[in-house]
């Protein structure tokens, strides 16, 4: 049984190593153009979701788009530095519950699927965004 497990984990790692390279996440999602397309997909996903769209009623979409593009660029080790409003300031007073936070994560996953971003790259992007959750929910 343990042998099966080790073989399995080893195989997963081999596949992973073979397919990964030294490029940044930013490069793996096709740089500036890729990030812009992803954010546009994400905005479309939000636009189609009544529950989440409600949080964006007061939002300037162009401002949000540019902010999230820079943020994603920075999070994926691209040549940007996010200097926009901080996460806590943006979300204070919104009282976003756990379920709506997860819904937004799902919309981002949908957007990444739509942009045909590889599963492994998706997971790495999510792992970098996940620690921001305390700065977003229930405040």
């Amino acid at each position: 049984m343990m042998k099966t497990l080790f073989t399995f984990v080893f195989a997963v790692m081999l596949v992973g190593c073979a397919s990964s390279n030294n490029s940044t996440l930013y490069q793996q999602i096709n740089g500036e153009q890729g990030v812009e397309k992803l954010v546009d997909s994400f905005i479309n996903q939000i636009g189609r979701d009544e529950q989440i769209l409600a949080y964006f009623k007061q939002t300037n979409v162009a401002h949000f788009r540019q902010g999230f593009i820079t943020h994603l660029c920075s999070v994926t080790d691209g040549p940007c530095e996010y200097k926009g409003d901080n996460m806590v300031d943006i979300h204070t007073g919104m009282n976003i519950p756990e379920k709506d936070f997860n819904r937004v994560v799902e919309l981002l996953i949908n957007a990444m699927d739509e942009q045909q971003i590889r599963q492994t790259v998706q997971n790495k992007i999510l792992s970098r965004l996940a620690p921001l959750r305390p700065e977003v929910i229930d405040i």
């Binding site: 399995f8 997963v12 992973g16 799902e106 492994t120 997971n123």
Partner: protein, 277 residues
């Protein structure tokens, strides 16, 4: 089993007609239903609470599972209630078929699980839960015949679970460890305790990798005590779980249950379906 079928029918009807469904967790993160009715893998209870309820939702799930090994078959059906992702209540009925003796052993299990800390995806440390499973045999004659001390018993367990995003070459990696304090013989189906044995601390663990959003493959291990002196052995399985959406999951596994009541090398298939509302 009949009582349970009624319970299921009513629950399904109530929730299908109300259109209610908890969906506040990410796909697949509640796990599936283990053979004693708690949220978990197949044989190990996990720290996650059953169903997709987040901190302001209620979830109800129903499941049925079948384990078919060399000389025995186990059928289980059950239901779980998750309140605000803080506490889980579960109820399961097991029917263990022993063709050699032309008999069935039936057991019911009422469970509760309290989430003490964390979230398997987001918290820095693993999610931690404390659970109990109270088990009661319908007819204790076989357990008594084999020398078991009791025909009912209560297991207590502490479980820790964590999902690491992108941790294994970019794939999501899940693990769980559980410590169980128990004197159950073969889940309790052969009674509780033995001639000169008491409750002991047993170790259980699971690990899995998500190959896609919807499919996880993994292994489980469950340490067993040998109270009856019948050579009870640790359990292991290899599983594939499929989460096509937040309403259903299907789990298939290959089981290695070792020796059961003197019959050795009990290996075979396991299939389980959970419905989530």
């Amino acid at each position: 089993m009949k009582r349970l079928n009624w319970l299921f029918g009513l629950t399904c009807l109530a929730f299908a007609s109300s259109g209610f469904a908890a969906s506040g967790k990410l796909l697949a993160t509640p796990g599936v239903s283990q053979v004693e009715g708690s949220a978990g893998g197949g044989i190990v209870p996990w720290a996650q609470l059953a169903g997709y309820a987040s901190d302001d939702e209620i979830a109800i799930n129903g499941f049925c599972s079948r384990a078919d090994v060399s000389d025995y078959r186990l059928d289980v059906c059950g239901a779980q209630l998750n309140i605000y992702d803080r506490v889980e209540f579960s109820y399961a009925e097991q029917r263990f078929e022993v063709p050699a003796l032309n008999t069935d052993i039936e057991q019911s299990i009422a469970g509760a699980k309290l989430r003490l800390y964390g979230d398997i995806v987001y918290s820095k440390w693993p999610q931690l839960s404390l659970g109990v499973q109270h088990k009661s045999l319908d007819d204790g004659s076989i357990a008594n015949l084999l020398g078991a001390k009791d025909t009912s018993g209560t297991d207590i367990y502490l479980a820790a679970s964590k999902l690491h995003l992108g941790a294994l070459a970019g794939y999501n990696w899940f693990w769980n460890t559980t410590f169980r304090y128990s004197d159950a013989n073969q889940l309790g189906l052969l009674g509780f305790g033995g001639p000169d044995s008491d409750k002991e601390l047993l170790f259980e663990a699971s690990t899995a990798v998500f190959l896609t959003h919807q499919i996880a493959v993994g292994v489980e291990y469950r340490e067993k005590s040998n109270n009856l002196g019948l050579g009870e052995q640790d359990w292991q399985d290899v599983f594939v779980a499929w989460f096509p959406n937040k309403h259903v999951s299907v789990t298939a596994a290959w089981l290695d249950l070792g020796s059961i009541a003197g019959a050795e090398d009990q290996t075979g298939w396991y299939l389980s379906v959970t419905g989530y509302w």
